[in-house]
């Protein structure tokens, strides 16, 4: 005995109505006979028998509506009623009823290959239901089988119109039209960032114009990273006194209505003083074809600024002869202008050393790429409170880390280390930064 249930005839179908019964209790049923016409939300469709037998009972009468899976009739296939779908007489060699369906006839060769285990991926099992064991019953082109897998289509209900009844792509037009697109691409909707067409579906890539400024930045950075042998020296300085001094200075500045100074202003000045002490760092290599290098007498410090136009490096000329307050005003002015109308070529040229500070983003330490033709760049991290051993106690102190990227062709490790030692000493004794004569 087999219970015939209300089938799912479309993806959106939840219930179906019996339009009319084509067979009546007592009728002999062959596989493929139309049993019943079912009305769904979309259409009225014939439903064919998947098993032969005798229709013994109709459970849902014409005009009635039931949900998917509700038994609508009982078919007597000459076997005891039991688990409805278990084919009791499945051959012992078939590992499972589902895979038995898709087993290809064993080749008449001495080598017996057991194919069923790797027959077809899961979704296809839906295509061939366990009831109609025996022959596959579905005869479809490779393209159709792929589409059925991708779109979760039930090929057993498709009538093939190709040679020998093969299901071909053309036979799927209706099913594909009603089938939703494959689930993965439907499930997620992503924000679209740019306006251009998608050029790569898999990555959903769109083209964004690379501005002229960005192309210049890209070219210069590539040149620098590829042609200059960079090496990196990192140091850490205790900035406790520096922070106290800054707080103190800013209190006075506030009282007088003056611009506050930042840690970066102090570091610019400290770097300028360290460069004065180590002029070999304030230098430019001119290339392998040149018999000379340049050592610069003026100390012009570029300050890397992230502006809406991209990375720009305005230059503060003669940074070693300006006071911290002057440097603070000038740096602020240049940064504002960089983000606003933009900087002039003059404001961005003539640098001898660059400072890049990502401390405001909480970056602890990083390395920077040298801004040619300069010989070195200082990458400054955040000034943060950390546990430090002072004497025999662990105390919280402000610390700052900075990394010098140097052009090894003209700056050796020892020189870089000496420069950093001077810089560290200035930061740790910050009154020297403000007190040293310009």
């Amino acid at each position: 005995m087999i219970e015939i249930k209300m089938p799912r005839l479309s993806d959106t179908m939840e219930e179906g109505a019996i339009a009319s019964w084509h067979k009546h209790p007592g009728d002999r049923i062959e596989i493929g006979d139309v049993l019943v016409e079912i009305e769904t939300d979309k259409a009225t469709m014939d439903y064919e028998a998947y098993e032969a037998g005798t229709l013994s009972e109709i459970l849902v009468s014409e005009g009635a509506t039931v949900t998917i899976g509700t038994p609508i009739a009982v078919l007597d296939n000459g076997k005891d009623s039991g688990p409805a779908s278990a084919p009791a007489s499945a051959p012992a060699s078939a590992p499972a009823s589902a895979s038995a369906v898709t087993t290809t006839p064993a080749p008449a060769s001495p080598v017996t290959v057991v194919a069923p285990a790797r027959a077809v991926p899961a979704p296809v099992n839906k295509v061939v239901e366990p009831q109609h064991s025996g022959s596959d019953g579905v005869f479809a082109s490779p393209l159709v089988r792929k589409l059925a897998r991708d779109h979760d289509l039930d090929l057993s209900r498709v009538r093939g119109t190709g040679p020998g009844g093969r299901i071909i792509r053309a036979d799927l037009s209706d099913l594909l039209a009603e089938a939703p697109t494959p689930a993965p691409s439907r499930a997620v909707t992503r924000p679209v960032i740019a306006t251009g067409p998608i050029v790569d579906e898999k990555r959903s890539s769109q083209e964004v114009v690379v501005t002229k400024a960005r192309r210049i930045i890209a070219r210069r950075l590539s040149e620098s990273a590829q042609s200059i042998p960079h090496f990196y020296v990192t140091a850490v300085a205790d900035a406790h006194v520096l922070m106290e001094m800054r707080t103190d200075l800013n209190k006075q500045a506030e009282a007088k209505g003056l611009t506050k100074i930042s840690v970066n202003d102090l570091i610019i000045r400290a770097s300028a003083l360290a460069l004065r002490e180590h002029p070999e760092v304030n230098a430019s290599y001119l290339g392998d074809d040149s018999s000379v290098m340049l050592v610069h007498n003026r100390i012009n410090i570029g300050v890397a600024v992230a502006s809406k136009h991209g990375l720009v490096v305005p230059v503060i000329v003669d940074a070693d002869v300006k006071t911290v307050a002057e440097l603070g005003v000038e740096a602020k002015f240049l940064a504002t202008q960089a983000s606003g109308k933009g900087l002039s070529i003059d404001q961005m040229s003539g640098g001898t050393f660059t400072i890049s500070n990502l401390g405001m983003f909480g970056v602890e330490e990083f390395t920077a790429i040298i801004n040619p033709p300069e010989g070195a760049i200082l990458a400054v991290g955040a000034t943060t409170r950390e546990p430090v051993v002072v004497g025999d106690e662990i105390v919280a102190r402000y610390r700052v880390r900075f990394t010098l990227s140097a052009d090894h062709r003209i700056i050796d490790g020892a020189l870089a280390a000496q420069f950093l030692r001077t810089l560290t000493s200035l930061i740790e004794h910050p009154w020297r930064i403000v007190a040293t004569e310009g």
Binding site: S141, K146, I168
Partner: protein, 339 residues
């Protein structure tokens, strides 16, 4: 661009390469005084002298071997074998020497030679002089086999073949010598191993080389006109190396393919193409790959029988229609020829 015959293009390209590189020289039967059985070498003996245009005895094995030796020592011989049928006499030299010396002796000597030779039937030359046996050479690693179907491709591939450091069999076709086409004036060599999509389309992929690529293009153009069919045509250009990627990508788009060849069906080049499609585009096929080839007989001498044995436009059209019907296109049968 200049409009030229396939024959004239071969002549002009040979001459240009001889002017460009004094190591390029020609050898073959009747190519000098008689100016070539198909007049490809007309005037070259008079222009370049008998040191660079060598008439040889009727001894294919001997002069092919001599060319291999010359190539190993740095010259760039271009051998004409009067028709591909006679290359069988030089099979040992080509297969066992030209193709193997570079690999077998650890790269000590390259064999930069070209064997120019026409294949093809249709001239009532009988069973032994009408064959398409380029497959024998395309089968052999170490060889390159190119087969242009247009004057422009003949130029680009001959330039590439002469400048290539491996032995190249350059397949011409008797039926193509008088075909005309635009030929670029500049000397840009083709990339050996790249197929050409000579017509873009979505309904079906039609694949051929040499004369069958010519027929494929003509049939596809005619069916576009008469039936509104949108057929993609691939001209293989090179049989070894074979551009499998272009073939597979096309079939992924069209879901159906017909392969054309002038040789026999069994064990033929079409079988290799069909296997390539099965490997690379199985899940995209909506119909079996169909092949069109000549009848499995030694080519008859009788004109009527010869025509019946060779694949025709109608054979190609029927295969296309059968394949399109197998994917659900309803077409009316055509009986008349599109020649």
């Amino acid at each position: 661009m200049t409009i030229k015959t396939y024959r004239q293009t071969l002549h002009d390209t040979l001459r240009a390469e001889m002017l460009r590189d004094e190591n390029v020289f020609l050898m073959g039967e009747e190519i000098g005084v008689f100016e070539g059985s198909y007049k490809i070498t007309a005037g070259l003996l008079a222009e370049f002298g008998d040191k660079r245009v060598k008439d040889t005895p009727i001894a294919e094995e001997g002069f092919t071997g001599a060319a291999i030796g010359a190539a190993m020592l740095g010259l760039r011989p271009v051998v004409e074998i009067m028709t591909i049928n006679f290359s069988l006499l030089a099979l040992d030299q080509i297969v066992n020497h030209a193709a193997k010396i570079y690999g077998m002796f650890g790269g000590q000597a390259k064999v930069p030679m070209v064997i120019r030779t026409p294949g093809g039937g249709g001239q009532q030359l009988g069973a032994t002089h009408s064959q398409n046996i380029e497959l024998y050479y395309a089968f052999v690693p170490g060889m390159k086999v190119v087969a242009p179907s247009t004057p422009a491709d003949a130029k680009a591939l001959l330039l590439a073949a002469i400048r290539d450091d491996d032995p190249v069999l350059f397949l011409e076709n008797l039926a193509l010598y008088n075909t005309k086409g635009d030929v670029p004036d500049d000397d840009t060599p083709a990339e050996i191993g790249k197929a050409k999509i000579s017509r873009e389309g979505h309904d079906l992929t039609l694949i051929g080389y040499s004369r069958m690529a010519y027929i494929a293009k003509n049939v596809a153009d005619a069916l576009s006109e008469s039936e509104g069919l949108d057929i993609e045509v691939i001209d293989l250009m090179s049989l070894r190396p074979l551009d499998r990627e272009t073939i597979v990508n096309s079939v992924k788009k069209t879901h159906a393919a017909v392969v054309l060849e002038d040789d026999w069906l069994t064990y033929g080049i079409g079988a290799e193409i069909a296997a390539t499609i099965s490997d690379g585009a199985f899940d995209y096929l909506d119909a079996p790959v169909r092949r069109v080839a000549m009848a499995e007989v030694p080519m008859p001498y009788s004109k009527v029988l010869e025509s019946a044995a060779m694949p025709t436009n109608d054979d190609v059209i029927n295969a296309i229609f059968q394949t399109l019907e197998a994917v659900g296109r309803r077409l009316k049968k055509v009986g008349q020829s599109h020649d």
